[in-house]
């Protein structure tokens, strides 16, 4: 009697364990299945826009652009699912299968990655604005009132100031800063080798190289460094968030171009959204949020004066070439600069 009851309990527990195993399998399969289903099924009539973007424009999208798009005829009833994070991480996530309809990154190479993966059409730049949805410029963020009187990147070096700029290897976006300094030095009449020397001098005085632009702002506001290299839109966002900082746009600096695209499987609503972002209405909202419109006729020169010596990444051959030449982690010239600096500090 007792034996048979113990066998019963035994059977029951075995069944439970098996059930647990099966449930475990189902959960795993379910997680995968859910993602796939989300990629194709659209919420509502117009289809859901699955937005995957870098972190900075989160407020712009959620508080201004998406609600305003919903007020247009094309955008009426369109739902959004938003995902924000570091630009490179977001791009890699989409490459690895995160469902996305509309993508917006800090760097062109993050879109190129998706083109290579067959997720974004090869001709994503075949439009009026060449795939760029917003502009900005690399700015020098200073303490209130710019006590050091900094006007250019060279000033930072000449005045021997401590600079905060994100680590260009952990933050793709920080590469804009390096190319701004490099390009400004070239435009100042330096040779490429000398311009790299300028970058080196600057980095030699960087006590901290935070992992991202946001971390860098955090470090600067927390007291690190005399100046911070950042995007104009970040500086404006910081001021809007009541951070006590000022910023200077150097006369010679780089125009930042932030790309956006729709994926090949995206619903029409994603394309409508991108077209809305390029429309006058969309561009004006971008401008209110601290970004320079890509439609030059909409740029308010009193807020966004064009730097007299503004240059673009195209001058250095575009991001694909620059990524190899400057930021390859072994052979890139910036990797070498960091190495030289490292060796000199070891001694």
């Amino acid at each position: 009697m007792s034996l048979s009851s113990s066998t019963k309990t035994k059977r029951r527990i075995q069944a439970l364990l098996l059930l647990a195993l099966i449930a475990f399998g189902v959960v795993i399969a379910g997680c995968g299945g859910d993602d796939e289903a989300g990629g194709n099924s659209g919420g509502g009539d117009k289809g859901k826009v699955q937005l995957v973007a870098y972190s900075t424009p989160q407020t712009a999208y959620e508080d201004a652009l998406e609600p305003d798009f919903n007020k247009t005829a094309e955008g009426d009833g369109v739902e959004f699912s938003n995902s924000f994070g570091a630009s490179g991480d977001q791009s890699r996530a989409v490459e690895a299968g995160q469902p996305a309809g509309y993508v917006n990154f800090a760097l062109e190479t993050d879109v190129t990655r998706l083109v290579d993966a067959g997720l974004v059409s090869k001709d994503w730049q075949n439009n009026k604005y060449k795939g760029i949805v917003t502009n900005s410029v690399v700015a020098i963020v200073t303490r209130p009132g710019n006590p050091e009187g900094v006007k250019s990147f060279q000033d930072i070096i000449d005045k021997n100031l401590e600079v905060v700029t994100p680590n260009p290897f952990t933050s793709g976006g920080a590469r804009w800063n390096i190319m701004a300094v490099y390009g400004a030095a070239l435009h100042d009449g330096k040779t490429p080798a000398e311009a790299l020397g300028t970058v080196k001098d600057l980095l030699a005085n960087a006590p901290v190289q935070p992992a991202s632009a946001r971390d860098a702002l955090q470090a600067f506001v927390g007291g690190a460094g005399d100046v911070l290299l950042s995007y104009e839109n970040e500086a404006i966002a910081a001021q809007n968030a009541n951070q006590d900082v000022d910023y200077v746009i150097p006369d010679s600096t780089i125009l930042i171009e932030q790309p956006a695209a729709v994926t090949v499987d995206a619903p029409q609503s994603a394309t409508d959204f991108l077209n809305y972002l390029w429309s006058d209405a969309g561009q004006k909202i971008w401008a209110e949020q601290g970004y320079r419109p890509v439609n030059k006729s909409l740029v308010d020169k009193s807020i966004y004066p064009t730097p007299p010596d503004e240059f673009t990444i195209a001058e250095f051959g575009g991001w694909d070439k620059v990524a190899d030449e400057f930021f390859d982690d072994k052979t890139g010239s910036i990797a070498k600069v960091e190495q030289e600096l490292g060796v000199s500090t070891e001694k």
Partner: protein, 275 residues
């Protein structure tokens, strides 16, 4: 004991109602899915371009500098932990003081706190605006402090139960036989705590090697100076060098395993007298 020399003398009871085969199968399946497969995937990724490129990835100067910094800081951290963790456990078990219960529960908070918040908090306390005037932000000292914070519970929690179950009669006996406090600690207490200290140290070391969140804001991330291995790996991923990232991770895993093996050896050596 010797009379019933069964094939498995110390196996104890089986789990009630579970056949050995099924529980083993479950454990193996679970471990494979959660631990073994991911680890194997990392290892195979690290060597996917051959031994040569693995070596290139881990011997590149920036990687070496980051690994060196990480291992040295982690070793310093576990040494401090071994001493302070044991001391904290001792005080929590042997001493009575008001608020002991609260202190006991606070020990685990570093586990509960999101590490990025830890980083931010430490930055506020030990950065430029430090209320105590201690500004170590963006230095190697900051790396050690942040690691001390996140690894605190390991040794404490490993030593505590051993201390609780330690038979105080042994100490009393030793005392009655004329042993001094130092000798009692050295010959009676410490050998009993050593396995716990070793286990705590091993866990803390493994955790310290891979820590990212707690370090990312406060360590400075300057290559060759304050860039730890996890941040370097982050950079490799950002540079789309997944193989390099996996390679450096494998080195961290290997260092961790070496220490774990070493700790096992010590534990066996410590138990040799008991057989």
């Amino acid at each position: 004991m010797t009379a019933i020399a069964a094939p498995r003398p110390r196996a104890g009871i089986r789990l009630p109602g579970v056949s050995g085969a099924l529980s083993k199968g479950l454990v193996v399946t679970y471990l494979s899915l959660i631990v073994l497969l991911p680890l194997a995937a990392i290892a195979s990724k690290a060597f996917s371009d051959g031994l040569g490129s693995f070596w290139d990835a881990v011997s590149q100067p920036q990687a070496v500098a980051a690994l060196k910094l990480t291992v040295i800081c982690s070793l310093i951290v576990v040494l401090i932990n071994a001493v302070m963790g044991t001391l904290i456990a001792w005080v929590l078990v042997r001493d009575e003081f008001p608020g002991k219960g609260i202190v006991n529960s606070v020990i685990d908070l570093p586990f509960a706190l999101p590490t990025i918040v830890a980083s931010l908090t430490l930055l506020t306390l030990y950065g430029k605006d430090s209320p105590f005037g201690v500004d170590v932000a963006y230095t190697r000292v900051a790396v050690v402090i942040a690691l001390l914070f996140v690894t605190l519970p390991f040794v404490v929690r490993a030593v505590q139960p051993l201390l609780l179950s330690l038979d105080r009669d042994m100490e009393a006996a030793a005392e009655s036989l004329g042993a001094g406090r130092a000798r009692i600690f050295r010959q009676i207490v410490f050998p009993n705590l050593a396995p716990g200290i070793a286990a705590g140290v091993a866990l803390a070391f493994a955790r310290a090697l891979g820590e990212f969140g707690a370090l990312v804001l406060i360590s400075g991330n300057v290559p060759y100076k304050t860039e730890v291995a996890s941040v370097f790996i982050r950079g490799q991923i950002e540079s789309d060098n997944i193989v390099g990232a996996a390679a450096v991770s494998v080195v961290l895993l290997a260092v961790s395993m070496t220490l774990l093996a070493f700790v096992n050896l010590i534990q066996k050596w410590g138990l040799r007298d008991e057989r």
